[in-house]
């Protein structure tokens, strides 16, 4: 479904991603792990089109998306949820998700329908599925951190992606919130959503992901099912056993 080939990206002299390869198939849950500064977030931003790679290609469902703008990539069914909460602060929870839905259903240039009557059921459905319906009309700046992270996911879902990319979805969450989020993601995956994510909590990754890719210093060193990755000596030395 998603194929990342030999991506390279540097900022000035600093090489953030040296050589990254990644493959994601339909229906999978794939995790990217690696120490801080390994280039995970940069890789995700390249895939979603916010950064342009210096080298390499990305294809999504057979189509080359390497040089596409973020909004085009999104329209192809690939959605990014951010690590640092990145929502529309001044708007309500409902409006946050509605924006994404409006954009998907092509209402961006509808000038005369009152927007509070547009796409209401679809938006409420997404809010219900992530459990935010109760705070529907709150200004989202006033939500708790955990709720905002869930809202992140809800906004990404608003564009009805086939592949959802999550940058540290549970960072900063309490254990209960983490558990709830993971079960939400599992539920979404069962409904047919492919998920690519990166995460610090190694135990969580190994229990949740179908396949794992390990990055170190900008290079993807291995890719495979959890068991295989766990066995890999290189990984053990470099990451699990070694640093941190």
């Amino acid at each position: 479904m998603l194929k990342v080939n030999d991506i390279q990206k540097s900022f000035d002299r600093f090489v953030a991603v040296k050589r990254a390869n990644l493959e994601v198939s339909q229906g999978e849950i794939v995790a990217v792990i690696g120490p801080n500064g390994a280039g995970k977030s940069t890789l995700f931003k390249i895939i979603s089109g916010h950064l342009k790679p210096d080298k390499g290609t990305i294809s999504f469902r057979g189509k080359d998306i390497t040089s596409m703008a973020p909004h085009q990539i999104c329209r192809h069914g690939l959605s990014l949820s951010y690590q640092i909460v990145n929502i529309f602060n001044r708007q309500t929870v409902f409006e946050n998700v509605q924006i994404s839905v409006l954009s998907r259903i092509g209402k961006a240039f509808d000038f005369f329908t009152p927007s509070r009557n547009v796409a209401v059921p679809e938006t409420d459905e997404i809010l219900a599925s992530v459990g935010l319906l109760g705070v529907r009309d709150r200004i989202c700046g006033s939500l708790s951190h955990g709720e905002q992270k869930v809202l992140e996911i809800a906004i990404a879902l608003g564009s009805k992606p086939e592949l959802l990319i999550l940058d540290e979805p549970t960072a900063g969450m309490s254990p209960e919130e983490t558990f709830a989020t993971i079960s939400l993601l599992e539920k979404l995956n069962k409904e047919g959503l492919t998920i690519l994510f990166c995460e610090h909590d190694i135990e969580l990754v190994f229990s949740f992901a179908n396949r794992i890719m390990v990055m170190q210093q900008g290079i993807s060193i291995i890719q495979g099912p959890p068991a295989e990755v766990r066995e890999n000596r290189e990984v053990r030395e470099a990451y699990i056993g070694g640093s941190d």
């Binding site: 703008a69 909004h71 959605s79 961006a108 000038f111 509070r116």
Partner: protein
Amino acid sequence: MGLSRASSKLVSLSFLFIGLLALSVAPLFLPRFFIYLTALVLLTGLLATSLNLALGFGGMYQFNHSVFYGLGAYGLSLMLIKTSLPPLLGYIVGPVISAIMALIMGIICVRLSKLYFGMLQLSLGSLVWVVIYRWYSFTGGDDGLHGVPIPQLFSSVTGSYYFTLVVTFFCMVILYFIVHSPFGRILQAIRDNPERSASVGIRVRLQQLIALVIAGFFAGVAGGLFVTVEGSAFPDLLSWTLSLELIIMCLLGGWFTFFGPMLGAAIIVCLRALVGGYTEFWTLALAIILMLLIYFLPEGALGFFERIWHGKASASGEVK
């Protein structure tokens, strides 16, 4: 909740109705000068509201909005003076010229962010200003165009007032719908977070460009109204100091509110007409108002009232 929403809507609508009624019978009671002043307030309010579409709702530093205002005024005046086309056509031609200019300037500026956007627009606007200012044979140069042959029906003080009232009302309704439409919601989303907007599939630049064109169009309408009320068009209409004054109007009224700029325009225009003529220290007053505003009321007068109201609502019903 639903019931109170409906009743609040009813209250606002009835206020709107009373207001309109008051405005439409005003010429029967008010002295002529105030009728003229109200017309000026209405058209400047429309201009400020159109600016606010780009500035407050679009988050774009539209530093030279008055260019579109001036172009609308010149478009109408030149058509009335130089051609024998039906006069009402001029009220379309002017704004269309403004919109085209907004499109051209928008295409060049929209890829830049914030201060760069504003500055590039300022220099492009200055170029337009220079052309108008220098093209003596066509635009009348710095003397401007005076004695524009406005159609008989709207050339009197009362006539131009009613014309301004009707046009402003319809334009405000259209702008209200635009701000509250999906288009407006997405525009505000871009203002708050352009990066995120792009990643949910919004074509940020296109959306902003269209907002600029709409804003330019309505600024052009306001320019046409100005000519109707004053009978003149002159290069001052395109000056960047007027643009800054418009931004102050938006700020004063509150730029996250729809009616704020109209209120700001009312305050500034009245103060300017009634204080400006008497004292040479009018700018001093403006400066002090502006400073106090930035310190104490950054959301503007209306924004402040709405926040108080919001605060009350959340205190009674929801968690802060």
